[in-house]
Structure formats: structure tokens, C-alpha cells
Symmetry: C4
Subunit: 300 residues, 4 copies
């Protein structure tokens, strides 16, 4: 993969690829310096800010996790809440700073990361009124997705792009595959509901039976819902073998896509201007079908 193709891939994303253009880099001055630090990671200050932000998110998530353990919460609850409050105030200030240093604050507020940034500070304030909402604070974990923006600046960029492209190129096959899985899962779930189901049994309703079927086809197999009759176990055995077999399909899809990206660079969309045969080799001088001379190949 050349640098050009990586760049092209990045421009397909509106916000992450180039925040300056999308959100509007402000006039030179204090706001512009803030923008460079917060939204960009090319300067030293920008990198320090980004790595510091990721560290802050990780610590703050860790604090919330600790607080959920009853034994720890009872002893150190107050301290943990104070630490959390400090982080929330810091994130709030950061959110305000982000809003204030861009030309189009609405664009930022409605962007993917803008919404996540807001969601990561709301729960602490909301918990003042409705305590149950407090745990939602872990939504700020989603802010870690920013991490993948940093990856683009490092030696991980090629691997990251390749993984994403393999998934993107496979999306239609995976969609077809998941449709088949959904039909199998509902069908087998219903079958077991008919065989073993009824109020008071393990398979108390069709949704529960479908949950069992998903559990089985994905080979997770909790065992909280499991067949006890001979007929039910026969259907379950069949479901397991099906699940096992089709487990091979998504693996095959992804693997093939990755292999083609690595090995099969001969696959192009080059097309003969005369007979419209497509998929001509990059090094071809003549169309393999009609023998017409071809213009030189231009890769993007």
C-alpha cells in the first residue's frame, strides 16, 4: 500500500481525516494555538495532549470500575467520587475548549466524536439527580476510539488501514452471512420452543429460545438454557454442528480478503476501451480478449 492510497482512504472520512478543513481552523492567535494542540497531533504539544487525554480516559474508567466493587466502594467511595468529579470537570473544560476554538462549533457538536465527548461528561451530572445513571459514565470509554487516530501517525498505519479495508471489502458478504445466521437461529430456536417450551420450562418463550440458539450457534454455550428431552438434544446437536460449520464462513471471507490484499495485487479494475473487458492485468499492453493496444495503466 502506497502513501497515496492511505491518504485517499483517509479523505473518505470527513472529520477524523482533516479536522482543519471540516471544523474550520480559526484565525492565527490563541484560538488557533488551542486548535492545533487539541485537534491535531503533528506538533509536540498536540501529541502530549493526545497521549495525556488517553491516559486520563483510562484512569477515569478504571476509577469507575473500582467504585463498582462494593468492598472498595464502601471504604474508599468518597475519594473515588472526588477523583471522578475532577476528571469530569477536566473533560467538561476540554469540551468547552473544543467548542470554542473551532469555526463551526455545531459541526463538532454533531460529529461522532463530539457526541461521544458530550456523552462522557453527562452521566456524572445526571447522577446528581438520578443515581442509577452513574454507571453510564463508562461511555467515556468510547473516547478511546480517538486512539485509532493516533495510530495513523505511527508505524501502525499500514496494518490499521489493511485491517479496516479487509473488513470494508467484506461487508456485503458478512451481511449475507449474518442474514442466513439470523434465519437459522430463529428457526432452530422456534423448533426447540415447540419441542420443549412452555411456561415454567427453560424455553419459556420464543425469544428465550432464540437466545439459546444464538448461544449454541456461536459455540458460547452458557448452559443456563439447555435441552433436557431426547428430541430437544437431537435438534441441539444438529444446531451445534451447523454453527460449527458456518463458523468457517466468516473466517474464510476475512482471510481471503486479507490474502488478496497481500498477494493478489494483480486484481485491478482496468478495462479495455474497445471490448469493455474488465480486470485486465496492470502490466498488460494489449487487451487479452480482443488484442487492442491499451493506454498505460494509471494507479490511483
Amino acid at each position: 500500500m502506497t502513501v497515496t492510497s492511505v491518504k485517499k482512504y483517509q479523505t473518505q472520512q470527513s472529520f477524523e481525516s482533516d479536522p482543519s478543513a471540516y471544523l474550520g481552523k480559526p484565525e492565527p492567535g490563541l484560538r488557533e494555538r488551542l486548535f492545533v494542540i487539541i485537534f491535531e497531533a503533528d506538533t509536540r504539544a498536540g501529541k502530549v495532549f493526545d497521549f495525556g487525554l488517553i491516559a486520563a480516559i483510562l484512569i477515569s474508567v478504571f476509577v469507575v470500575m473500582l467504585d463498582s466493587i462494593q468492598a472498595i466502594s464502601e471504604r474508599h467511595g468518597l475519594a473515588l467520587h472526588r477523583i471522578e468529579l475532577i476528571f469530569t470537570i477536566a473533560f467538561t473544560l476540554e469540551y468547552i475548549a473544543r467548542l470554542s476554538c473551532v469555526r463551526h462549533p455545531i459541526r463538532y457538536a454533531t460529529s461522532f466524536f463530539g457526541v461521544i465527548d458530550l456523552l462522557s461528561i453527562i452521566p456524572t451530572y445526571a447522577a446528581l439527580f438520578i443515581p442509577e445513571l452513574h454507571s453510564l459514565i463508562d461511555l467515556r470509554l468510547l473516547r478511546l476510539l480517538r486512539m485509532f487516530r493516533l495510530l495513523k501517525l505511527t508505524q501502525y498505519v499500514e496494518e490499521y488501514t489493511m485491517l479496516v479495508q479487509a473488513l470494508v471489502a467484506s461487508r456485503r458478504k458478512i451481511f449475507i452471512f449474518l442474514s442466513v445466521v439470523v434465519i437459522i437461529v430463529i428457526f432452530n430456536g422456534t423448533l426447540l420452543y415447540v419441542i420443549e417450551g412452555g411456561p415454567g420450562t427453560n424455553f419459556s418463550s420464543i425469544p428465550t429460545s432464540v437466545y439459546w440458539a444464538i448461544t449454541t450457534v456461536t459455540t458460547v454455550g452458557y448452559g443456563d438454557v439447555a435441552p433436557i428431552s431426547s428430541a430437544g438434544r437431537a435438534v441441539a446437536s444438529f444446531t451445534m454442528l451447523i454453527g460449527w460449520s458456518i463458523l468457517a464462513v466468516p473466517t474464510g471471507i476475512i482471510t481471503t480478503e486479507m490474502t488478496v490484499q497481500r498477494v493478489g495485487n494483480r486484481l485491478t479494475t482496468r478495462t479495455c476501451p474497445e471490448c469493455l473487458t474488465s480486470g485486465l492485468d496492470a502490466d498488460a499492453n494489449y487487451c487479452k480478449r480482443c488484442g487492442t493496444g491499451l493506454p498505460p495503466y494509471q494507479q490511483e
Copy 2:
């Protein structure tokens, strides 16, 4: 994959590929217009009908699932039954319409989709006499398989065809593989029955032990039947490791098939007699480098 090969694949299927030819398109008139709407999806009305049908099937399956949840059934049971009855009447009318607008109604009634269409309306009527049969109504889920016919008209056709072809090409290998799995599963199941089995134990009979072995080899592992003795656990450990190892085999089969379809059909040793360029595609008529006409390709 070219359009030609997709078409060739489709003609191998009798009904789905070309209902006009198989079921007999009627004389121009009302019946013919009905035929085009119901059986074909190339016109606007045909597409609307097909997408509407899929929506109706999904909603009707969803209603049956809701009805199986006791809490909902007790409160909204009557409404749900009425909705279901309406759908069943609609599907019955559709079934009659399908029968009436083809030249060979018997061919449709005995075709795969004809049987499924009938099976999807019988349970509601049968439940009037035998209430237990009511849940079988989810058989109408199988009607969703029509969805894959629609896929053929969209940009999913290539992915769909490729997935099906990879499975078709692998069918013999998968059959051999499943035979080995069946032998392993019966053998290990019996072994554990000998070691731990007997009335009152977890492994109460050989079929139950085989069910356990399937559970284990497929790595589902419910845990409802599990060994408790040292010898049983040793055999179980061995069974798990075997299952894990042979899990790789179906994946390998499918992946290889897909990779060969994507990359492999281009690897030949065909060589241009004029400029000695080798590795020419199997379907080339002219050398891609010098434009010389090629003799027909002869595979061993």
C-alpha cells in the same frame, strides 16, 4: 466472475432461476400481469410486491414471537391473534393467487417454495383444532429464503454467488470431514458412557453421551452433562483438544476454496508463443504484452 458465468449458475436451478419457463407464464391478460407482479421482480410493481412480502413475513414472525412471551400474551393476546389471522388470510390469498396465475399449478405446489408457502399458512388453521401446533407458524420464516432471490437483482449478486459456489465446491470435503466427526463423536461418547455412565448419572445412556461429545467437540460446552471422575476428565480433555484441532479443517476447506476463486484462477503457466511472456490468463485470446493471437488454452 463475469455476467455469463452468473447466468450459467442460475440456469442450474430450475424454479428460482426462471419461473416463467418452469411454471409456465400465462397468456397476456390479467393472469399474466399478476404473474409478473408475484413471480418476477424486474418491474417496479414486482419489486414493491417482493419487498412488501418480506416485510409482512418479518412482522408476522415478530407477532408470533411476542405472543409466546407469557406476560405479553396475557395482556395483548387477543390483539396479537387478530393480527396473525389477518396475515394468515393475506398469505392464503397470495397462495391462491400464485396457484391461479401459473400454467402448471402442480409444479408450483410441489416446488420448494410452493411447499413452504403452504406450510406457512397451515399452522394457524390447524391450531383451531390442535392448539399445540400454533408455534409451528414460525415455519413461515422459511419464506424469507425468497430474500436471496432478490439479492440476485442487486449489487450483492457477485458476493452471493461466490459464497454459494465456495460451499458447493467444498461439499465433498465437508461430507468426508463430517463423517470423521460423527465417528469421533460416537466413539468418545461411548467411551465416557463406559467410564462414568449408568442409570442416575450424567451419562445416563449412549445417546446422551454422544450429545455430550457433540457439545464438547464443537466447543459449545453447556456443562449440563460433564465428567466428574479423573478418567472421564482425561478423556474429555482429549476430546476437547481433538475438537479444537479439527475445527481448523472446515475453515481451511472454505478459505482455500474462496482464495482459489479470487486469486487462484489466474495462476497458469500459459506462455505466449511470440514473446514468451508466461503466466497468461486461462481466458486470454491475445497476449497481453505483444498482442499476438494465442492458441486455445489446454488444461491438463
Copy 3:
């Protein structure tokens, strides 16, 4: 894969490949006719015998499985035992016939299938004295391995040979891989024994803990032995992620082997007689390293 290479593979097996040569085909006469029917499958009678034998084995295994179900055994036990006795007598006669129609009976009796044939009839007789041994009768299931001999005569031969060759070619990699798994499993099992173990707990001994580790690494996860402490669960989480990651390794090994067999037929062991560079292409005229002219390539 050409017919020649399949044959070559078969001659590596001593008994199955050519029973006539190994066991000694008798002089023409009654014994020779018996030999052709029993040991060979090229004549009509031979095929009928082989398919009949497989059917008999399947039915006899099915009878034993039925007999292990208490409810059925109580009602139809006597009938089932009689059917089983008939099959055992038939298999005994077959065993005697096999012994009597070969020139080297000892070779047959000590061959893999000779031992299995004997093991499949002993349990019924042994059960007359020690009833517990009765279930071992399912050892006769191993006789189904004969099925794979029949596969060689059908259109499955290529798929069968390819699967076996992929496994054979991967055996060293799989051995190394299993060594690593064994070390991981013992190590993690011991770790959990140290953390949670002791008399009366789930992890009552190191072998039990290793059983748990195998359960976890293979993603079977019965749940009959599971950690309850925080430290134990942390180690368990780590074990799961390791198991999940190395699950990819055997799949990769097998898949690569299969792909190479299908696509990578350019991989040869052809060696330059001058500089001893190996792996030269099948279509090369000159050594790619030293430029020496090569003798024509001869594939086996």
C-alpha cells in the same frame, strides 16, 4: 493431482492400498473368490459386500445405543440383545472367513483392521462373564474406518487424498503447536490452583486445574470448574484471550497447507545440479541463481 500421485500415496500404506500383495491372494478357487469379495471392492459382489458390511455395522451400533437407554432397554431389551447376538455371530463368521481366505492369516490378524475386527466381536462374548464390558461393543464403530477405503474408489478420492496430505504435511507444525498448548495449559492450571485451589474448592488438585485450563483454552467452557475470586477471574480472562489467539494458529497451518496444494503448484523440490539451489520453478530452463542450463523437469 494426477492419478499417478494418488497411486503413489496409496502405496505408502501397506495393507489398505493393496491387500492382495500384503495378505497374499490365494490360489484360484473358492478361497480366491471369497478373497475378491471380502478384501477387494472392484467387482460387483465386492462392492455389495462392502456396502452391506457398513450398513450392518451402522445398524449394530444403533442397536447398542438403543439398548443403553433405560426405558427402551426395559421394554425391548431381550429383542435388542438377540439382534446384537445375530450381528456378532455374523461378524465372527466374517472374521473367520477373512482369516481363512488369505495366505498370511497372521498378517491380517495383526494388521490395524484385523485388530479392530477382533475387538468388535470380543465384547459380546466377554459380556457373558463380565457384563460391564458390554458397552465396549461400540468399538465396532471403528470398523467404519473401512468406509474410507471405499471412498478411494469413488469421486471422493481427490478430496480425501488432499485432506490427508494437508494434515500429513502439517504434522510437525501441529506437534510444535500442541507442545506450546500443553505448557500453557499446565502453567495456567497450576496458577489457578495456587490462587483458588485446595481441598473442598473447585480447583481441588492440579490435574483438575489443568482440566479447567484445557476447558478454557479450547473455548469449551463447561463451567463445572470456574474461578470465583477476583484474582482467579483475572487469570482466567487472560487464559481465555490466549486460547482465543492461538486458536488461529492451527487454522492458519491447515489453511496454508491446503492453499499451497491448490494454488502453489509452482513449489517444487527441483534442484540445480551445479549450485544445488533447490525449489526451482517447474518451467525453468536455467538455474535462477547460477545460470546453468537445467535438464528437463520430470514430475513424478
Copy 4:
């Protein structure tokens, strides 16, 4: 893989690759003979010592495992402890011998295997004061990693090197992949804690919920922690399907890497300037078809 590339790989490891250079081979004499036996495996005595050492480690681990089973410990405890003591003393002597026969004992003591060698003898002595530490003796299992050094001398070297290289080449992709898994697991775990959690429930804290999520995503599925509410089961179903789908990613990464190593390094567009043969190997000096000397290969 040529011998050269294997050697090159080995020099990247400091200790294992060449203990003579790193630890300092002593002057000729008794110490040098000891060094050759203990640290090298090229002489007959060295091989005997290494295989004997591996046998001793295996037996000593087996003794500890037996001792952990209460029934055996009660009856044969004293004997087992004596055997273990003998092995520990032997390993202690070996450790002292290793220290004494190298020029830089500190380098050995701080090397990976030096630390493991020390850790494998400490627990027996420590258990004299703190009995609980006794089970840690299984740390000596890690000494079996020496086994892989022996593999280098055998016919397994190519397979071993290939497996290690595939993993090394995939490390960045696997790191990115595991980051995504960690985010998914914490996010889904927290979600279920919000839905079902609280003191006294299965999901008693966020770490416990994350443990459940890891259990689910890796398809282990113990079932000791499992959702019981409808919303919880819906989220669990979603988690399972995600886990199942991304299971394909590490497999794809490893498989592609292995395939590229086997097949892919031969696919180039390098062309002979004389006869225009294309697809020449990257390491070729002469055209394989016409024997012309080739200019050095320039990869982009």
C-alpha cells in the same frame, strides 16, 4: 527458507542464539568442557544432557501434580516430597554449575532462562518457611521452553522458524485487534452491569461484568455469570455475534501471514530484459527461461 535467513533470525536473539558469545565461553579446561555440555547441544554429551534435563523437568512437574491430589498425597506424600527434594537439589547443583562455568555469571543470572532456572528451585526452599508457596514449584515447567532450543537442531527448525516469523510479522495487527477487543469487552460488560447489575446479582461489579464479557466474546461461556433479563439477553446475544465475527480476524491475520510466507514471496512482476519472461523470482540472478544475467531486483 534458506539456512542464511534462519541464522539471521537467530542472531536477533541474544542468549539462545549463541550462548558462547553472550555468556563468554571459558578458557579450555574443565570449565570449558562443562560449558559445552550444559550450554551447547552440538556434542553427544550436550544432547544427552539436554534431553535428560527435559525428562527430569517433566518427571518433577508430574510429581508435584500427583502430590496435589489429596488421596495420593495422604498415602504417598512423604515419598513424593523426597523425590521432589532430590530433583530440587539436582537443579540447584545444575544452577551453580551454570553460574560457575560462564565468564559473565551476572549475564546468565539476569537472562530469561537464568531467572527461570532460579525460580524453579526457590519454591521448594521457600516452602520450608511458607508452605503455601509450594505449588509455585510448577514454575519449573517454564524450563521446558528450553525444548525449543533443541528443536533448532532437528528437522523441526524450518517449521518452528516459520511459525515464529508468522507471529512476529503479525504482532502489530494483533495488537490493534486486541485493543479493539478490550474496548468491546469493557463497553459490553459495563452495559450489562447497568442493565442487570447491583449487589447480590450475578453482575455484582463492573470487573465481574467485564469477566463475563470476555467469557462471552471468546466463546468460552462458562455460564457461572449469565444474563437473566430480556434486555440483558439481547445485549448478550449481540456480544456473542460480535465475538463470533471478530474471531475471524486473528485467524485471517495469521493465515495470510503464513500463506504469504509460503506462496506469496514468489509473486513479482520482475521481467527478463532479454526474453521478456515476467514473474521472475525476487532472488533470481539469471532468467530461468533464457539464462540471461538479470539486473538487481528493485522493490518499490
